[in-house]
Subunit: 156 residues, 4 copies
DNA sequence: TTTT
DNA sequence: TTTT
């Protein structure tokens, strides 16, 4: 019965977060995260391999994501694997795997000050204007949320 | 580019490993692992939630799995998320997520000596006779494999 | 500022937990945990290497430890590194590193039912009688504590 | 016997790495890493707590550290706890805990291009000129080392 | 001694 | 779809 289900990721967002404010008052953010590994194949050529992860963040976390994360943002994520299963129209069993984020931390913000925060690619047309990625203390959520390490504990 | 993609699981096998010896000489073992978490809901009732993970082990690892793991075995797993994507007959994009195991460790075997190793449920009819789960050093694979912590590093 | 400090251990207790009930009402348990790795040296000989960790558990966690953990118990631990620094009598800077446990899970108990729970080494003379290591749901702490995954979040 | 001893850190270097080239040909780099966590105390005041870790890197890893890491660099580290024990002159048992790095990844380099790489504080007087922190592929070690994820597997 |  |  004793179980551990833990995921640790460091990667970059493929898009701006998609945030939904539900009627219940809950907020959910869906984020796609790329983790890329590079290695040499047998011929000595450099090969890159990218894995795309579907992240799910809730409530306080989702709000911080909405406010501070953008396409290209680099984050550290701790979470767990969580799958939904259902039957499709053909009666086939289907399964969708997501990472339920338990906490995340923005990375690399220190050096963003000198240049365009997030770079030119971080604020594509479909998104609202990006906030200052440098995360000055003054722009911290007054709710007491912690930009740098956002936790949100639901039972599952 | 800097990426981290790490999964840590502790759980029990849902079935005996399914092992295939490929013509290429490679060996692959597919394992289903359950991680269960328990919590109290708002009414104070104990609720259990089980997540099933599809694990993939290769070569030396797969051989150790074949020899020592059985339905019910408790293991610690370190691996990474790895997905296959394709189009189904309807032209829909499909994605299958697996955990590529990088190393695993058998748990709890130390105290299993006194009773039936693995318990009555650990050796269903479709499987070969289970070996002694207590893993005495003497029964270690002569190939130099390490029963307790099996690693197998492929680039991806 | 963004920081991550995470430790994951699987090992066995070197002694029964040492538990102190403080006047403040807090409870602290000190636990020594051995993690052993085995490898082959250049000559092909099997070598074992054991690292001893000093764990610190508080309150609900400490109570569960007091009640259920014994010398020899195998546990999964998640925690963080936490050091105390001071000057000794000679004026030298000293540092003591501990693992502050954030959650732990008892391992291997499921299959222990058939034999002596914990095995002969798990209940040395200096300790109180060991409880049933099999952890039936019925023997769970009525306080709502979760034997299988004990969490306790202090700020640091 | 089955053991897991894993440490995961994200933090910033307190100093430039101290690198020693041993007569044996081995190279060792000692690095101090700060992991900072912030939280609100009972009065709602923001409190910061910094833990300092002593990291040890060897060979290929150490060379990459020497070349690319500087005071202030942010890295992701995976390693294990490793302690040395000895008796001091007074005959007291002493123990020194280090993190043996198994792999590390440089973080946040993407946005360093626009400004001064590493910032003004990253290259203090006592250090050699910092290399371009942006890690162009062209400056990669020809030895096949991977700047972004450096691994080095010794048995212990 | 870092970082924000 | 990210990043280098």
């Amino acid at each position: 019965m004793a179980g551990v289900n833990k995921v640790i990721l460091v990667g970059n967002l493929g898009r701006d977060p998609e945030v939904k404010h539900l009627e219940s008052g809950s907020v959910v953010a869906n984020v796609t995260l790329a983790t890329t590994e590079a290695y040499k194949d047998r011929s000595g050529n450099r090969v890159e391999n990218t894995e795309w992860h579907d992240l799910e963040m809730w409530d306080g976390q989702a709000k911080v994501a909405e406010q501070y994360l953008r396409k290209g943002s680099q984050i550290f994520v701790e979470g767990k694997i969580k799958s939904d299963t259902w039957q499709d129209e053909q009666g086939n069993n289907r399964k969708k795997v997501r990472i339920r984020v338990l906490s995340f931390t923005m990375l690399g913000s220190r050096n963003a000050e000198g240049g365009a925060p997030g770079g030119s690619s971080s604020n594509a047309g479909q998104s609202q204007p990006a906030p200052n990625k440098a995360q000055p203390a003054a722009s911290m959520p007054s709710s007491g949320g912690n930009i740098d390490d956002v936790e949100d504990d639901l039972p599952f």
